[in-house]
């Protein structure tokens, strides 16, 4: 195992853990606030429980971060020396932020009980806000270093000499797209992981009350994961567009060159995630009486999602041999045309996202009977919204298919806009319709064992997906440490094959899962008290 793999493993481990511990306080704060606004104590209990899991993971984050730093300075002293020169005092700010993050995290968690009611609760919420502000800043700073290596700015392009301020290096072309992408992905990731915790607790629950609690927690986690996930393809689109704008060469290397196959795996992983999340939602319809009557519609959503999935993973071209791929970028070629710019695939992705949102809306509706006078009109409006939206997405897809290459990419913009519009308008209409709606009981805990396995698929697929994206993000720099500035002249300057990368990613995922199981075990152990010898057994 070479130095590069070593750094790869630690960097990815650190990223997984950091993504998790940064994401949890974000949605915990929102859930806590919801608890205050709705005066429903269950929210507060759940928020606290989410925090407990993330606390147990925090020290691992610091540990892997330290190991990563050591590995980097050990194996890449020159690169690190250069980055230190570019970012100067920012490294100290980073260290200071890290200390603050730890401080606020501990205060936020341990003051939970003390600052529970009235004005004190608002103090607690404020601490949470500061914690998140510090956490996000921390991530943005780290992102600046990663994106500087991809699209350096603030340095002389021919010599690499530092000529700009730290801020100029920070504000490089890819910084903000990556910030947004990671922000959303973290939320989805954090949701997926606490979902697995809930599923595990659900499966090992001893009584109905526990089952109900963890079912609800699982549902909320899945909801958070999907909320973070739905806008992610659009953030990805922005990131990709900025990469093309920064360097067409880098863009083509990512999408149309030897890395093109990677997007087939990405499609499989995202398809897996969407299928699992939807399957879980469909199972959840059984929690309400009305939901069960929606079962016939689920068939059609399933058809759209599975169909979209198949379109997405089907390569448009004959399978390329390694020889042919080697010729890509090396020789004139005619294979990847339809695969590189994929209107049909865009159509599939957007339809899948719309279908996922529909699954949510169905569940939401299953426990609410609108009583407003215009309920019928409202329903028709929503149906019309979906129909027009889907037609628009399909139409743009077909248009993209028949127009010349250069305009194909353009067709995906109206598709994305349509998907977002459907979601926003459906939410608005639904919001007004549910005013004074008759609520029917949701039987939390009425879930099959099988449904819970969907909640394990999510974090695994997410972890793998993040690993894969890490591989491509680093690979587009090709043989450069700092693109166009500092070459990687070591024997490890090559881009590994997708199989080699897959093996490393699986290895990292395994280690990470091991850590997570340990973390779950730790946080569960906190609840168990040993019976006093000779005394009564207590939980």
């Amino acid at each position: 195992m070479g130095g590069r793999t070593f750094v790869w493993v630690f960097a990815q481990m650190h990223l997984f853990l950091a993504a998790f511990v940064l994401a949890v306080p974000l949605f915990v704060l929102i859930i806590e606030l919801l608890g205050v606004l709705t005066k429903d104590p269950r929210y507060d209990v759940m928020a606290h429980e989410f925090m407990k899991i993330s606390m147990a993971a925090y020290s691992f984050t610091a540990l892997t971060g330290g190991a990563l730093a050591i590995a980097l300075f050990l194996f890449y002293p020159v690169v690190m020396g250069y980055l230190m020169q570019v970012f100067r005092g920012q490294t100290l700010i980073y260290a200071a932020l890290f200390v603050m993050e730890s401080l606020f995290l501990y205060i936020y968690y341990y003051s939970w009980g003390v600052l529970r009611y009235g004005n004190r609760k608002w103090v607690h919420l404020s601490i949470g806000l500061v914690l998140n502000a510090v956490g996000l800043t921390l991530m943005f700073v780290a992102n600046a270093w990663a994106t500087f290596m991809m699209s350096p700015s603030g340095v002389d392009p021919s010599t690499g000499a530092v000529i700009g301020t730290v801020w100029e290096a920070t504000r490089n072309p890819l910084w903000n797209p990556l910030n947004l992408h990671r922000f959303l992905a973290n939320i989805a990731y954090g949701g997926a992981i606490v979902g697995a915790y809930a599923a595990y607790r659900f499966l090992s629950a001893k009584n109905a009350a526990e089952r109900a609690h963890y079912d609800w927690m699982g549902y909320t986690s899945n909801f958070i994961a999907v909320c973070g996930f739905l806008p992610l393809p659009f953030a990805g689109y922005w990131l990709m567009a900025e990469i093309y704008a920064y360097s067409q060469q880098m863009g083509i290397t990512a999408m149309g060159g030897i890395l093109a196959w990677l997007f087939i795996i990405q499609a499989v992983l995202i398809g897996t995630i969407i299928l699992a999340a939807n399957y879980y939602l469909w199972c959840g319809l059984g929690r309400t009486r009305k939901g069960a009557t929606y079962a016939p519609y689920v068939k059609y959503i399933a058809v759209v999602i599975v169909g979209g999935f198949l379109v997405w993973v089907t390569p448009h071209t004959l399978i390329l041999t390694p020889q042919e791929i080697r010729l890509l970028g090396g020789t004139n070629h005619g294979f990847l045309g339809p695969l590189g710019i994929m209107p049909a695939k865009n159509m599939a992705v957007n339809l899948m996202l719309v279908a996922t949102f529909l699954s949510f809306q169905l569940f939401n509706r299953s426990s609410r009977e609108p009583t407003v006078s215009w309920a019928r009109t409202g329903n028709l409006l929503i149906v019309a919204l979906y129909v027009v939206g889907v037609l628009n997405i399909v139409g743009a897809g077909i248009y993209g298919y028949i127009t010349p290459t250069v305009y194909k990419v353009g067709a995906s913009v109206p598709q994305v806009a349509t998907t977002i519009s459907i979601i926003i308008f459906a939410l608005i209409i639904d919001g007004f319709m549910s005013r004074g709606a008759k609520r029917s009981k949701v039987h939390w805990g009425r879930m099959s064992t099988r449904s819970q396995y969907a909640l394990f698929v999510l974090p695994i697929a997410f972890t793998w997906l993040m690993g894969l994206m890490g591989y491509i993000r680093s690979s587009v720099r090709t043989h450069w440490h700092v693109y166009t500035i500092m070459k990687d002249t070591s024997p490890e300057a090559y881009i590994p094959t997708i199989g080699q990368a897959g093996n490393v990613i699986t290895m990292i995922t395994l280690i990470f899962m091991g850590v997570i199981v340990f973390v779950f075990w730790l946080s569960q152990m906190g609840e168990i008290k040993q019976a006093k010898p000779g005394g009564k057994i207590s939980k």
């Binding site: 392009p157 021919s158 030897i258 791929i325 010729l327 020789t331 450069w480 699986t506």
Partner: protein, 284 residues
Amino acid sequence: MTLLRITVFSLAIMFAFTIFANILPQVQSDPPQTEEIDESSLDVAGQIAWGRRLFEGQGTCTLCHNNLGRAPDLLELDLAATLPERIADQRYAGAAAGLSGAAAIEIYLRESMIDPSAFVVDGFGKKGTNDTESPMPRVDAAPISLSATETDALIGFLQDLAGFEVTVALPSAADAVESANVEETPSEDVWPLTSAEDIIANLGCAGCHDLFGSGADIGPDLAETVQQMQRHQLRAAIIDPNAEIADGYEADFMPPDYAEQMWASELELVVDYLIALGAGEAVQ
């Protein structure tokens, strides 16, 4: 028990992803290799062949200049007509404006490579710049970083491809003087041949392949195998025969140095001929 079941389930999923990644085509992408070349001994033909190799390899030009519409498909365009058209374009205000002939083409090509935004081909500009800014990177700066002699070789290759006289200097000054002499007294060996039959006869392909009824069987019967090959594969098969070996044959039989022996235009003629042969349209 629950934990065990979850673990097995999770491992199975991870295993499935791993298998999938491993059954896809596996390609390792190595950093571009700078070709060790004895620049001082290059002749014009060698320089053009070198230019072609740079175009398809180290220069990464074909990453964009291909048939996917990202950039003008230089290898397929009718350059002989296109390049003078560019110089005559109303919008063109570069150094070659008002000039014509091979020298003007050299200026235009060099400008396209060193200062791509000097003139941006219609519709290929960066988004939102109204064709005032080219997405093409300067070839003399990172990441492409070609040297002056490499850039010359590329220009020579493109000039030759367009059917113009090659006007760039050879790498060494001494050789440049020599080449000037050559240019004054062109001989049969130096100037490109214009018929595929002559080139093939000259290079002795029929000694190994069944061409012109030679019946030779050391190499594959091209009339048959060529049908499955695309243009770029044919070029590669001729100038880099050991990169991919035809089924049932061995490496190192076919001479690996045809790139040095042929003009770029000659290579295209041979490829044309072979394609026609595969389609049954050429005399064998």
